[in-house]
């Protein structure tokens, strides 16, 4: 048994998936049914609690209550693709983690990310009349908008933890500010996501400390992971024409950098580590230019859906 960080949001992850123990306040059956957009014919009673789910967004879109502009859609695509590609990477750890607690924890984080991806992609799709699944399974590589960090291979556990460390501190600052977005749907998705990502920060920071101060081997592996992935940090904070056009609806990526640096540095100081001085990678993910890894991720993710186009699952 190893001492690990507090478990991330099990209840939220569970309710997102529509499985797992029912927790928190339970709306009436009728309310649950109408929220989920499903009738009593479903074999599964939906107990969504108060969380915003992708199905709720899809329903609002169907009713015509919300309709993002193409600019907002494009922005939501970026955030959704980041989360989707990371979930795809993290899902690989389930049944392969160093300890059962980490099978559960990394699985939870993957599930949270997938939930965020589903919400952002459902909303993004509304700009072009597409569903979350059409976007995830039937776009080509250059149409994906994720930054390069998210598609980097899992590597060993230290590499995965470094990627989580960077991502969770970045996403926390981003979602925290996005809750003030002038776009109500983006703000609502961010409000749910930020609570979950806060746990992801805790998980990654605790592991950074354990690996840095544990054994010589773990420290060496962590330092190697930091050198490997720090070049991908810069891309996360690049402003471009889209973020400028969106104004109050989005968050200017560059505005997150100072807090990201300060907060990650606090952890790294405690871990007795200097921020690696490494040149930035080229990036280009926001423009659809990806690394060699992306094609394999998509091939695996999309293979079955593309074998049966138009099928329902």
């Amino acid at each position: 048994m190893i001492p690990t960080g507090s478990q991330p949001s099990q209840a939220q992850a569970g309710s997102l998936a529509g499985v797992g123990p029912a927790t928190g306040s339970q709306p009436s059956q009728a309310q649950a049914g109408s929220l989920a957009g499903v009738g009593p014919a479903s074999a599964t009673r939906i107990t969504p609690g108060n969380a915003l789910r992708p199905e709720d967004i899809a329903l609002e879109v169907q009713r015509g209550d919300v309709k993002p502009s193409e600019n907002v859609g494009e922005y939501a695509l970026r955030l959704g693709d980041d989360a989707l590609i990371l979930a795809q990477r993290l899902g690989h750890w389930i049944s392969r983690a160093p300890e059962l607690e980490e099978d559960v924890a990394l699985g939870n984080i993957a599930l949270d990310q997938l939930g965020h991806a589903r919400s952002f992609l459902t909303y993004a799709g509304a700009a072009w009349g597409k569903t979350e699944d059409e976007l995830a399974y039937f776009r080509r590589e250059p149409e994906f908008r994720s930054a390069h960090l998210f598609e980097q291979p899992n590597g060993d556990f230290a590499v995965t933890i470094v990627r989580q460390f960077i991502v969770s501190y970045y996403q926390f600052e981003l979602y925290r500010r996005l809750t003030d977005s002038s776009d109500a749907t983006l703000a609502a998705i961010a409000a749910k996501a930020v609570k979950e990502v806060d746990y992801h920060r805790d998980h990654s920071a605790q592991w950074v400390l354990r690996l840095a101060l544990g054994t010589d081997e773990s420290r060496g592996r962590l330092l190697a992971g930091l050198r490997l992935l720090w070049p991908y940090v810069g891309e996360l904070f690049e402003d471009d024409a889209l973020t400028a056009r969106l104004g109050d609806a989005a968050v200017a990526p560059s505005s997150l950098r100072a807090d990201f640096d300060r907060l990650t540095d606090e952890v790294l100081v405690e871990a007795e580590i200097d921020v690696p001085h490494v040149p930035s990678a080229l990036g280009g993910g926001r423009r659809g230019q990806h690394s060699e890894h992306m094609g394999y991720i998509l091939a695996e993710m999309q293979v079955l859906a593309r074998e049966y186009p138009g099928a329902s699952w």
Partner: protein, 333 residues
């Protein structure tokens, strides 16, 4: 227990005293069995009872852990994002079940490390069903509906097992398993009402998982040497064949809703015995798989070993860090 308290004194208990304690313990144990009440970890229990439980609970835990693999095989390829989320949550639940069960077994004095060591050394068994491959998406449906369905038939009576921690762990496990079974049924229902190719995929999966899931209940009653003792100890409540018959009855009714069929023309309800019956099962195949010669035994064990070995440095780091922090706190205090 008063007898145990008396044994704690300045003088080490004599052999005679130990014998008295054992006699009193046995009497208490027999009383609990007769009352159909519960044994808790600190109670006296016969060595054989303890050994049987450690074996059964750890095998059950190992099955959950190895059982993650066949379904994890489809997480990356799940055909919709919602199905991907559900599947991730399900496989994650199985890790959680493994955790509760290892914890229940630890109350009997065997550590998780030791049990995990036995598993990766190939010295422990797990349910042979997980040595079959998941070759199509429909297998996610068939596993949920049939394999988890069989597990529920087996495990609901275990909620009343005489050993408290095991019974209580099973209550939670069973709640989650029932979600798992329903999601499996839903996958098959969707496929069965989909394109002809999807329906064929569903039927093929049901055909392949039917016999292995029936064999999950263990050998026929006349070839199940341990069952009688387990029933006397109120661990097992119903015989293998009794549970299998109930399961067949459930499947026979539910498969009609799916619009699919079971690959067994001999399934019928016997009006005389009031029991469901099924055709012959290939118990030679069962023994082969159990002996390690199934389609995926080597692959499943290799994956578990690799995860265990690859994670060794992480566990060492966490242990070293905990020791350093404890030392630091001691100095500070």
């Amino acid at each position: 227990m008063a007898q145990n308290l008396q044994a704690v004194g300045d003088v080490a208990p004599s052999q005679q005293q130990s014998q008295l304690d054992a006699d009193a313990g046995q009497a208490y144990f027999d009383h609990v069995m007769a009352e159909d009440s519960r044994i808790e970890p600190r109670d006296w229990m016969p060595d054989a009872y303890r050994r049987t439980l450690v074996r059964q609970i750890s095998q059950h835990a190992h099955s959950e852990i190895i059982g993650m693999q066949p379904e994890a095989n489809w997480i990356s390829r799940a055909p919709s994002l919602k199905r991907k989320a559900i599947l991730m949550a399900k496989v994650q639940d199985e890790a959680g079940h493994g955790l509760y069960l290892y914890s229940a077994a630890e109350t009997l004095g065997t550590s998780r490390d030791e049990m995990m060591g036995q598993l990766v050394a190939g010295k422990a068994r797990y349910s042979s069903i997980f040595n079959y491959p998941t070759v199509t998406w429909a297998d996610m449906g068939a596993i949920g509906w049939m394999v988890d369905g069989a597990a529920i038939c087996n495990q609901v009576p275990l909620c009343r097992a005489s050993f408290g921690p095991y019974g209580r762990a099973m209550v939670r496990v069973c709640k989650e398993e029932s979600f798992h079974q329903r999601q499996g049924f839903e996958i098959l229902l969707e496929l069965a009402n989909g394109t002809p190719a999807q329906k064929q995929m569903a039927q093929d999966a049901v055909d392949r998982w039917y016999a292995p899931s029936l064999m999950m209940f263990g050998p026929p009653d006349d070839d199940s040497p341990n069952s009688k003792q387990s029933m006397a100890w109120n661990i097992k409540r119903f015989s293998n064949d009794e549970l299998r018959s109930r399961f067949v009855g459930m499947m026979a009714e539910q498969v009609k809703v799916l619009g699919l069929s079971l690959p067994d023309p001999e399934v019928r309800f016997n009006e005389d015995t009031k029991k469901w019956e099924h055709g012959p099962l290939d118990w030679e195949e069962f023994k082969e798989v159990l002996a390690g010669r199934g389609p995926c035994n080597a692959q499943r064990m290799e994956r578990r070993r690799q995860a265990h070995d690859d994670g060794a440095w992480v566990r060492e780091a966490a242990t070293a860090y905990a020791a350093k922090m404890a030392a630091k706190n001691e100095v500070a205090a």
